[in-house]
């Protein structure tokens, strides 16, 4: 067994998967509340650029990451306003948000292309990091990675095991029933769309402050779209989202690793996988019974109008 190769691949998978994981969990929150936000790519780009710039100006990657969350959250509020308050088309609004985010991030980021900035550095966790193999893979990472380790199980617990989680799911499944039970559908949809935006922003900052520190135009390179696909792959479940994120995060590094071993798979093929899989799941999941089983929120993408007869 080539332990070096395996641990290198796993480390690469975790590092590359973390930005995707943040964005995916964020989108799971929004979609669980019934809001489909296709603006993830745009929010990630804005998160990446604002995280980088603020980090550079303040000298602190922490402040940068917080700024990225704020910017992502604010962007998502545009989508929330259009789709929840104005009851506009969520697909159109989300796509517009992505286009807007791509353009604006390129504009504000122009002077910073190639400028060296700040970054998160690895923390070796005492004791744990000395565990052979696992210690190196899991416990010699930077704080953003550790935070994601905490986030996905907590998100799972929150969604499935707590009262706010129950209310979140009810709002995405059957807003009329939730409303009748005294739950404020509009407030919760705004809240979780905002949280989704914050996590997408953080995902972007993870790229510009940790994974490949720096800023280049369009540096998220479609990770936002992978996140949207992974939400379906994960059946709206944060635990499966983690699995999917690391799987697809590992695809690139695996590609290089395999090449050194003489196996060549075209990188385009591997990069296509999440989308291909998403399409397959979509075909499969159009069946009512399957939708129920995989847990697709029934009111996803549908604006809620109160008192409709």
């Amino acid at each position: 067994m080539d332990w070096v190769f395996i641990s290198a691949t796993l480390i690469a998978a975790i590092r590359a998967g973390t930005p995707i994981l943040y964005a995916t969990i964020g989108e799971i929150f929004a979609e669980r509340a019934g809001v489909l936000n296709l603006g993830v790519e745009g929010m990630m780009l804005m998160g990446a650029v604002s995280g980088f710039i603020v980090g550079l100006k303040t000298g602190s990657p922490w402040v940068g990451a917080l700024a990225a969350m704020l910017v992502g959250g604010l962007m998502s509020l545009i989508h929330a306003f259009v789709s929840i308050t104005l009851r506009g088309d969520q697909v159109v609004s989300g796509l517009a948000l992505t286009l807007f985010g791509s353009g604006l991030s390129a504009l504000v980021g122009k002077p910073y292309v190639g400028v060296p900035g700040v970054r998160f550095t690895a923390w070796k966790i005492p004791l744990l990091s000395r565990i052979p193999f696992l210690g190196e893979v899991l416990f010699q990472r930077d704080p953003l990675v550790y935070f994601s380790f905490l986030l996905f199980p907590l998100a799972w617990y929150f969604i499935f095991k707590t009262r706010p989680g129950l209310h979140l799911r009810a709002v995405g499944e059957d807003p009329a029933t939730a409303d009748a039970a005294g739950i404020n559908v509009f407030k919760l949809r705004y809240l979780y769309t905002f949280i989704g935006g914050m996590l997408a922003g953080l995902g972007g900052a993870t790229i510009s402050l940790s994974y490949t520190p720096g800023w280049i135009e369009g540096m998220t390179a479609g990770r936002g779209w992978i996140a949207v696909g992974l939400v379906i792959f994960a059946f709206w479940d944060p635990l499966r989202a983690a699995l999917g994120s690391y799987l697809f995060g590992g695809v690139n590094s695996l590609q290089f690793g395999l090449q050194t071993k003489g196996v060549t798979i075209p990188i385009y093929f591997l990069q296509m996988m999440p989308y291909l899989f998403t399409i397959l799941v979509l075909i499969f999941a159009t069946q009512e019974r399957v939708r129920r089983r995989v847990g697709a929120p029934a009111a996803l993408g549908i604006p809620y109008v109160r008192g409709e007869r």
Partner: protein, 507 residues
Amino acid sequence: MEGETARIAVEMRNIVKRFPGVLANDHVNFSAYEGEIHALLGENGAGKTTLMNILSGLYRPDEGEIYLYGRRVVFNSPRDAIAHGVGMVHQHFKLVETHTVAENIILGLDKPRFFLNLAEAEQEIRRLEEQYGLKVDPQAYIWQLSLGEQQRVEILKALYRGARILIMDEPTAVLTPQEVEELFVTLRRMAREGHTIIFISHKLDEVLAIADRITILRKGRVVGTVEAQMATKEELARMMVGREVLFHIEKEPVEPGAPVLEVQGLRALSDRGVPALKGVTFHVREREILGVAGVSGNGQSELAEVITGLRESTGGRVRVNGQDLTNAGARAFIDAGVSHIPEDRVHVGIVPSLHLTGNLFLKAYRRLPGFFLNWKQMREKAKELLRHFDVMAPNPDVEARTLSGGNIQKLILAREFSSRPAVVIAVHPTQGLDVGATEAVRQRLLEQRSQGAAILLISEDLEEVRALSDRIIVMYEGEIMGEVPPDAPVEEIGLLMAGTRLEGRGA
């Protein structure tokens, strides 16, 4: 109820509620005692649901006051009402299909605040089930439950929230006769423990069976409140409708002729892609009404659609007068003389935004000579049909959607019956109609029978099926459970409706 000892639980004074163009509640006074089962009786549109939506906090009254146990209350939301012990089980259940029974019951509560203790909630739910005889598994998902079980979940939801006053809006519509009996047992038990039950219905028999007192509403006004023990069906009907009503349906004895509609081993899928018809076989003869009884959602809608050409079958045969029409399309069925009184009157039965003349000639225009339509002539004919079928409309030029439900149904009958159909497929033909329109529709069906039509009558109203049919088949989960004569006991039909086959009989 013993008048002196019982406390007044609910008192609604001078309630007025207006909707655009409708006075739904017109200075209504209503009161119910503690421990009483109080029925609210009235025709469709009388304002029963509106009145109780006000009591349960869903609507705010335009005028009037509410007192609970003598104290004035003002509700701004259903939450306020439930906090005061008023719970309502709506006609359309408010349950999240993909969540469990327990999750639905605790939805929206704020205790426990953050962590869910489902095990504890389930235990409490089981205790309530025990106490009131409401059987349902707290861990089951709503989509796995029958409508009767879902109703129990709604009742449990109200009880879990501490409801002392429980409003049930037309609760028996979705139940089999046995489930109705079980519900009645539960309601009586609750009343004995001091709960107040307000039972909304437009069915006289069940109101007489369950209620202590009955308040009758007509056109938004209270006509009166009577003791159930003193009341008769005729008197209640008169109060409800405002005139004498004939309950006895005169069915002319006729000899049925040869089979006209023959259905053999019919299979079809529902919209969800699951089998809805699993090999259905029956025939209907000339001058005969075959009733199809069953709780709705057991394949009746799909059956009607397949035998009118609106849904593809996946197996089996449909013949009309010997001609094989399996999957031949709606036009072929129309040409073969199959007329359809659809379940969804407004969307399938008429073109709502088209005038009455157009609606009346929707099918017959093909048989008119020439390329252009002679509207003037058609309008005259339309006028005649409207008069003959007693459709209340100012003229044939108004849009069909402006008519009331009963008149829309009469309009459909006018179109379908003016062509002398060989087969009539009538689906819930009197559902939601008031007593007057119901009478008219039933008369027309019997008239068609006398004139030789083979009629398939699909209805949830067991009384209707028994009164009109010559034979009855019972559907359950896409299968025919058995055939019975119209004078078979209700219990026997009820068993079939619940999926229990009778010994030594089969279809």
